[in-house]
């Protein structure tokens, strides 16, 4: 009996904590959502949580923002960019992560320090040189330009190195005794064991790609080739503080990510859970 009630209290406390935390998380989003339906003067009125303004909700913010941009095109460009960045980054990072995490070779620490240095530098200094490179290749305003800076990932390499490094040696040694080459050890045994890190890497690469604003704005400024974040930035213009339209735009931009996340959530969570292979 005592154990059971202790369980219950634990569970209640847990839920209280989680719910409070959830409210903190959601508060800004609730405000975003409500503001998108207001007029400009309403949005700066004293009570931001005005659920039922006397004139009703205003849907025109959404239609105005929708009409300013070809949203279908924006969604398509953004999703393609995300897909290719995730693909390339995961491929290159997992190979490099395995090598840094489990193989011995000359210059390993030197090359790894290169990886770390990239992470330590503020990204703003890369923008103009990368833009010039793409421009000289005459590939501005293409999907290549969007994917280019994200094709390799120092962050991903580091993440996967951690993932590979602490896997048990015994598995690899057993495979070696069985006559597997390094490539086979890598692809058939080690790689599948880092599924959780790979899934995490995929998610984060996708998110950083999606949120990347400055690069798509500069490299793909034609509105037919740009991405959601860049288009949102243009909404702001130089002098406007039109909160409702901006919030409507931000909401419309979140929707694809949210939908993807909700659809694939089970797979993501399952992916993060490793399957078997544990000693």
């Amino acid at each position: 009996m005592k154990y059971q009630s202790k369980q219950n209290i634990n569970s209640i406390v847990t839920h209280i904590v989680l719910i409070c935390g959830s409210i903190c998380m959601l508060l800004p989003f609730i405000w975003m959502f409500l503001t998108a339906f207001k007029t400009r003067s309403q949005s700066v009125s004293v009570n931001p949580f005005y659920f039922f303004p006397h004139e009703g909700w205003h849907f025109e913010n959404f239609s105005e923002v929708w009409n300013s941009y070809n949203f279908l095109r924006l969604y398509a460009n953004t999703l393609l960019m995300i897909f290719f960045r995730v693909l390339f980054a995961c491929l290159t990072a997992t190979m490099a992560g395995y090598a840094f995490g489990r193989l011995k070779f000359q210059g390993k620490s030197f090359f790894f320090s290169l990886v770390l240095i990239q992470m330590m530098v503020p990204s703003q200094i890369f923008i103009i040189p990368q833009y010039l490179m793409v421009s000289k290749l005459h590939l501005l305003n293409t999907q290549f330009a969007l994917v280019f800076p994200g094709a390799v990932s120092a962050f991903g390499t580091y993440l996967l190195k951690q993932g590979y490094q602490f896997l048990p040696k015994e598995l690899e040694e057993a495979a070696e005794l069985d006559g597997c080459s390094i490539w086979q050890r890598f692809t058939k045994i080690m790689l599948p064991l880092t599924k959780s890190s790979m899934v995490s890497l995929g998610i984060f690469t996708a998110l950083f790609a999606y949120k990347d604003m400055m690069w798509p704005m500069i490299a793909c400024n034609k509105s037919t080739h740009t991405t959601l974040s860049a288009a949102l930035a243009k909404l702001q213009g130089q002098f406007t503080s039109n909160y409702p339209q901006l919030m409507a735009g931000a909401l419309m931009a979140i929707i694809p990510m949210l939908v993807i996340y909700l659809l694939f959530q089970r797979q993501f969570m399952e992916g993060i859970t490793t399957t078997g292979g544990k000693l």
Partner: protein, 294 residues
């Protein structure tokens, strides 16, 4: 036996280089060429558009070491880092532990905590800026107070840190849940059989097994915090009296390079930052080697 070993290590070396090649080549082209040109810029008094750069050697660095604003921004950045990183990690660790079990509504909670990651940073900052508004903001309304969240030099940097923690919890939580899932159940079962309490298991099994991932999160968190730019840029107004106490070193770099067209001095600031971050990273790596010896 010797011959086999050398052959094996040669193959290993060959594969090592092959596997890292795509990443390293990518980094060299995409990132190292800009870094080298930034170092060169820091040694110049830059002309506009890269025309007429005058090589002046170390003069920029001499100016930098006498620049009070640079050191003020550095301290602001350290203050932010020291608060944001530990809070973010501790909170996400607690959340990850709670959400690792099969409790009711687990998926919904995970989704909710992950939401800030999905939202455009500009929109997030705008919302928080309005919530912190002294006269019309939500926080002062709820607490019925008149706190000068973004203009009081003593509080403003903490507010920026709060937004930083809020945005990064979901990210750390996902990584930690993954790492937690990787810990074999058997360890916990064995511990319970031996009579260990939940807290004891947490500190003697969970934390040690999580150390690699924790170090990863600490390192990336610290580097990210030291490079903070977006949040102070969008939340604190330049006419706020707290501005000089919140301005981070990357913000200062941005101002010089992009707003004042002084790329040479901006480059100097970046290189200075790089050195500091490098030293801190080296320190963290050394700690990791000591504590995570497998």
């Amino acid at each position: 036996m010797q011959k086999m070993r050398t052959l094996k290590s040669k193959t290993e070396a060959k594969w090592g280089l092959i596997l890292i090649a795509p990443t390293i080549i990518g980094l060299l082209i995409l990132n190292f060429y800009p870094i080298i040109s930034t170092i060169y810029l820091s040694l110049c008094k830059t002309g506009d558009f890269g025309i007429g750069n005058k090589f002046i050697g170390y003069d920029n660095y001499i100016t930098l070491f006498q620049d009070k604003e640079v050191f003020h921004s550095l301290i602001n950045t350290f203050k932010y880092t020291i608060i944001e990183v530990p809070f973010s990690i501790v909170i996400s660790l607690i959340l990850a532990s709670l959400l690792n079990h099969n409790i009711f509504g687990r998926t919904s909670y995970r989704t909710i905590y992950f939401l800030p990651m999905i939202c455009a940073p500009a929109a997030v900052a705008m919302v928080w800026r309005w919530m912190f508004n002294q006269d019309f903001g939500l926080l002062n309304m709820i607490f019925r107070s008149n706190v000068a969240w973004v203009t009081d030099p003593n509080i403003a940097w903490i507010c920026v840190a709060i937004v930083g923690v809020w945005s990064s919890i979901g990210y750390n939580m996902v990584l930690l849940i993954g790492a937690l899932q990787d810990i074999p159940r058997d360890y916990y079962e064995a511990a319970t059989i031996d009579g260990a309490s939940a807290i004891k298991s947490f500190f003697h099994i969970t934390i040690p097994m999580l150390l690699p991932m924790l170090f990863f999160i600490i390192l990336t968190g610290v580097i990210g915090a030291l490079q903070l730019f977006d949040l102070p840029y969008m939340i604190i107004n330049r006419s706020s009296r707290a501005f000089s106490d919140v301005q981070t070193i990357t913000y200062l770099f941005y101002t010089y390079s992009f707003e004042h067209s002084n790329r040479g001095y901006g480059a100097t600031i970046v290189i200075f930052m790089l050195l500091i971050i490098g030293i801190i990273t080296y320190g963290i790596q050394k700690l990791e080697k000591k504590w995570c010896s497998v």
